[in-house]
């Protein structure tokens, strides 16, 4: 068997690259890795592709401070060297935070990650008290089901996302409603932060300009019992 060298990269995605789609992000990585002259392992076949796997797709426009990708290398390279070279070759807005070797037999990144932490910020249409936010959160969390409509390939469907909410807090900062949450992500199902905001705002009748929502992904995690570990901490 060919020996493989896998590395895990933690990175951020901010302006202006927050507007890149998932596919664009993959391509940007491929090209940056080539520019950085990092020895990539390629798939076989007519159109060989470097083997890069991302933890989770990030919606267009969302800023993230905690994204992850696993990359297979054709030969060994020190993580520090990869970090330095790659940072220099990345387009403005991507920050390479850390690089770590992945031991053989480690669970695939995409399969491991199952929690995402978000902060959403949305302008208030009129001033309200913090208490109103607390009440809205309490009332929404007391509901048994949070039904959302989604547009899928097979048409519209209704989903209950209540079970995917693990933490949810909120407060008012400078005429903005700010919600922080830890929600389900990955193969077990995805909760979208804008859906959470919509439910809380609707249930508590909070006056917000929902179309001007700004979403920040603070990180992706692997839930181990009650603990949340980053994908770098699990290896």
């Amino acid at each position: 068997m060919k020996s493989m060298y896998r590395i895990r990269i933690a990175f951020s995605k901010q302006d202006p690259v927050r507007w890149l789609s998932h596919l664009d992000t993959q391509k940007a990585f491929e090209r940056a890795l080539r520019r950085a002259e990092i020895p990539l392992a390629f798939s076989e076949g007519f159109n060989p592709h470097p083997k890069i796997a991302f933890a989770s797709a990030l919606a267009v426009g969302v800023v993230s401070l905690g994204e992850y990708a696993d990359i297979e290398l054709a030969e060994d390279m020190a993580p520090e060297t990869v970090k330095e070279k790659l940072q220099q070759a990345m387009p403005e807005g991507f920050g390479v935070q850390a690089v770590k070797k992945v031991p053989q037999g480690t669970q695939a990144l995409m399969a491991a990650v199952n929690r995402a932490q978000y902060r959403v910020r949305v302008p208030l249409a009129k001033e309200i008290e913090d208490g109103m936010v607390k009440a809205a959160l309490a009332k929404s969390l007391a509901e048994e089901a949070w039904l959302v409509e989604r547009e899928g390939k097979k048409g519209r469907s209704t989903k209950d996302i209540r079970g995917g909410i693990y933490q949810l807090t909120g407060h008012i900062v400078e005429s903005h409603l700010v919600l922080e949450m830890v929600v389900q992500t990955g193969s077990e199902g995805n909760v979208r932060p804008e859906e959470v905001l919509e439910i809380v705002a609707r249930t508590g009748s909070l006056p917000v300009h929902i179309e001007r929502i700004r979403i920040l992904r603070l990180g992706l995690f692997v839930a181990k019992g009650d603990r949340l570990m980053t994908p770098l901490e699990v290896i």
Partner: protein, 642 residues
Amino acid sequence: MQHTHESINKALEEGLLTKVTKPTRYTGGEYNQVKKDWADIDVSMAFGFPDVYEVGMSHLGLRILYHLINEQPRMVMERVFAPWVDMEKEMRARQLPLFSLESRRPLTDFDVVGFTLQYEMSYTNILNMLDLAGIPLKSIERSDDAPLIMAGGPCAVNPEPLADFVDLVVLGEGEEVLPRILQRIAQFKQAGRWRTCAETRGREELLFALAQIPGVYVPAFYRSEYDEKGLFKGTIPNRSGVPARISKQIVADLDKAYFPTKSLVPFMDVVHDRVMLEVLRGCSRSCRFCQAGSIYRPVRERSMETLKKQADELVKTTGYDEIALTSLSTADYTCVEPLIQSLIATHQEQKVGVSLPSLRVDAFSVNLAKEVQKVRKTGLTFAPEAGTQRLRDVINKGVTEENLMETVESAFANGWTGLKLYFMIGLPTEKEEDLEGIAQLAERVVYRGTGILREKGIKKSVKVTVSTSSFVPKPQTPFQWEPQARIEELEEKQAYLKKRLKDRRINYNWHDAKVSFMEAVLAKGDRRIGDVLYRAWQKGCTFDGWSEYFHFDRWQEAFAESNIDPEYYAYRTIRYDEPLPWDHLDFGVQRQYLVREHKKALEESLTHDCRLDSCSGCGVCPTLGVSLDLRGEKHVPNSDRI
């Protein structure tokens, strides 16, 4: 509200970009983007591509000029593309002006906005972009606070339909002229003669100074005359001190010419998303319908050493996995085989492939394609252009049926199971048998391919795609005097082929004949077409090159309201002694040569490629003071014919 880059930035980030498809069309920030501090520059230019981002970013000229200008210490060039319809709607709703990608400044902040004219059907987008930028559409309405509106590129061969809207036109290759133009503008600004304060009235003086630079045409300094019946009589200077004829400028030594070692790397998929290595400029195969073949003469090649170095650097600075060898006819490059071998040897390990965008119809080309296949599999496209030998002789396409069959045999034998064939319909002298010839050729290719695949035991069915475009007579070609076939005629020809090409292994597609008609009118139009353009734009015509946004009825209304008969431009046989709207623009190819070529076409007589034989007397070399520049041994792949 007066917008600044701060307010535009705020509008984009706070909501606008979430409302549009493909936001990276507007964000900039691509790798190798150049962002300059405007405090340190003397002159600024926005390069405007009058189509959507993914089309514009595929244009090599933009990439060359972008880095060329930005390497000049006190000049800046930024980019602007036509916002897609959804973005335009959002921008108009917010009264947000058109802005550049790099600094997000409104276009009115720039000294020059230059549009490249790549195809006629993008003209209404130029008007729309000016309007979105809040710049008066007509040259005559602009004062010193408006940027100079410049145009260049292949359609500058006849920019007359745009004469009312542009301030200056650059004829020929921009690498040497553009820095000189910007330098001159910087000098004017530094001398306090233009745009330095609200009171300057320097626009006309500046344009006059620019008109002294060879290759610069200022339409306002010329007037077109017509006789009492409305026939075009000529375009002559309306003031002293400007040349009666303006000559195109070209780069004499392509090997030494500037070529960027960096290239913008778009985030979204663009049409040509790869390293573009320009191996040569020009083509002297002399196909008689081809405008590019006329206006980019003579053939000038780059040396292998230069190209290898450029490829290495570009792969390193872009991270692309494909190097395209671009030119009008790459298989004609005298060093093409050793170049491909060398590029593959150097880049194979990083899985960087080589591609050939255009192939000649010969076995040599298939071999090249086979060579580049070593890394990545690509499709094969050949352009016999016409269905019979007679018609191919008329257009001087030096291809025989034997060439074609040999080529496709070689392709199928080498593992391809499908290919594309390009033809033109409505060519001068075309008869029904020529259309029938297209169908028969396609069938022969299918039968031969099926036979070869069967022999090789391949179960897959052969797939042949036949595409037809419609002949558009273009200025500076031997067919410039020819009428275009009528829309109804072209549609009948398409219907004929649709009926004939019923084999399920053949896929037939064709171009909208109404679009081809509009192309002919705009390509050969005079200044009176400007009014039609203006009215069509007012009626909402933009993105005319996109079938879903092409509204022929609006154009017809515009013609009627302007009292212009479009058939005068498209369908009329022009006499040799008639003045032409582009006569005052000298592209080097002599009129006598074009007449001679036209006559030879009607006699079905061939003209040689001057690379392989004696000079064919087009006049470009002596007129422009340049010569053919080949870098390798002459090779004669089609020696049986030429």
